[in-house]
Assembly symmetry: C2
Homo-oligomer: 226 residues x 2
Amino acid sequence: VKISELSTRSGVPVATVKFYLREGLIATGEKSSQTQSSYDESHVARLRLIRAFLEVGGLSIASARQVLAVMDDDSLPFGVAAGVASTALPAATTSASEGTGRGDRDLSDLIKRRGWTVDPQNPGWGLAARVIDDYAALGRDDLISTLDIYADAAERVAGADLQSVADADGRAQMTETVVIGTVLGDSLLAGLRRMAHENFSRTLFPVPPEIAQHYDHSPLTRQEKP
Amino acid sequence: VKISELSTRSGVPVATVKFYLREGLIATGEKSSQTQSSYDESHVARLRLIRAFLEVGGLSIASARQVLAVMDDDSLPFGVAAGVASTALPAATTSASEGTGRGDRDLSDLIKRRGWTVDPQNPGWGLAARVIDDYAALGRDDLISTLDIYADAAERVAGADLQSVADADGRAQMTETVVIGTVLGDSLLAGLRRMAHENFSRTLFPVPPEIAQHYDHSPLTRQEKP
């Protein structure tokens, strides 16, 4: 197909496709004439993968190039591509606090206790450590006692995630699974957790119907029913 | 104590304390002279709670005021405060896609299957539904099959979260727990999940030491060891 159809099929503008070609992120097509090249299904799939990296994963062009290079190198085991893709994903932290060391110590103990092997450079380590530091800074050390229950849940979900990666069709789809599964999976888990909060709250902290009719679980602007 | 010491103790600048006083978020102190008021421990605790709402929870002043008003009203069951606090928390979505209805349908089925009672207005519902829509839009319906494993994990963690709320000391600390536990708990779970990913990846996709020495799980800029 021509570059215009490649653009339509992948949802990537022609100018952007040309940019990716110049950057070497996708292979050049077969020369079909002096001025035109022809592209195939592999180009469509590649563009969709790059879109997933950039738009879902939030990777920079430079990071995407490095992930693709490792993924494309069949002499490297897939674990290298998985590691490079995973570490390229930003781990947003909500904390502005300096680390106190408490989180790092608790996580070191945790991974020993559970027999995990995790590099302290893993982006998730810093994220989790800062939460523990924040709980302590807020005077809420009691909340740190839930750490093992969180780790159980994380382990359960991560096991399923890795199975999805292993079940994917080829290295490209496996790498895509690492990227979109990591990012979207966080949102899925966060969303379901808030749904489960409401469910348990209704049992643990019931609101009698005559009061509930004035309040609901909708956003605050609509909090008081007419 | 004087307003200056209240500021030091709570970490809130004097001008901000005066603003909260004018806004009615904290009670006025005892008049100790014509120009000075005296504050006590309850004011320090209240300011820390407001800081947690604004800085950790990301609530607006208007939302914080509504949560505090419901929390302060002892004639209302705590479930109302929990619901209002929870729905005031923003649920960041990474999706730019329009909902297709797939996510809403899958979540309706899920909550029926699990016997949950959840209002579709729950901020987590939209977040989770958009992820399912995104998986489908990316042609990765296969990833939706992990939904129940995610829901299991969410349920387990949410149960512990609600127990932390119930164990907290009084309505103010219970409400604080809802706010900081919801926000920081998301980060903790996300961080631990990425740590567990690495742990499982090392088993499922092993990298021989002679290759591993050139790559590690550190950020990409340091990806290739010298």
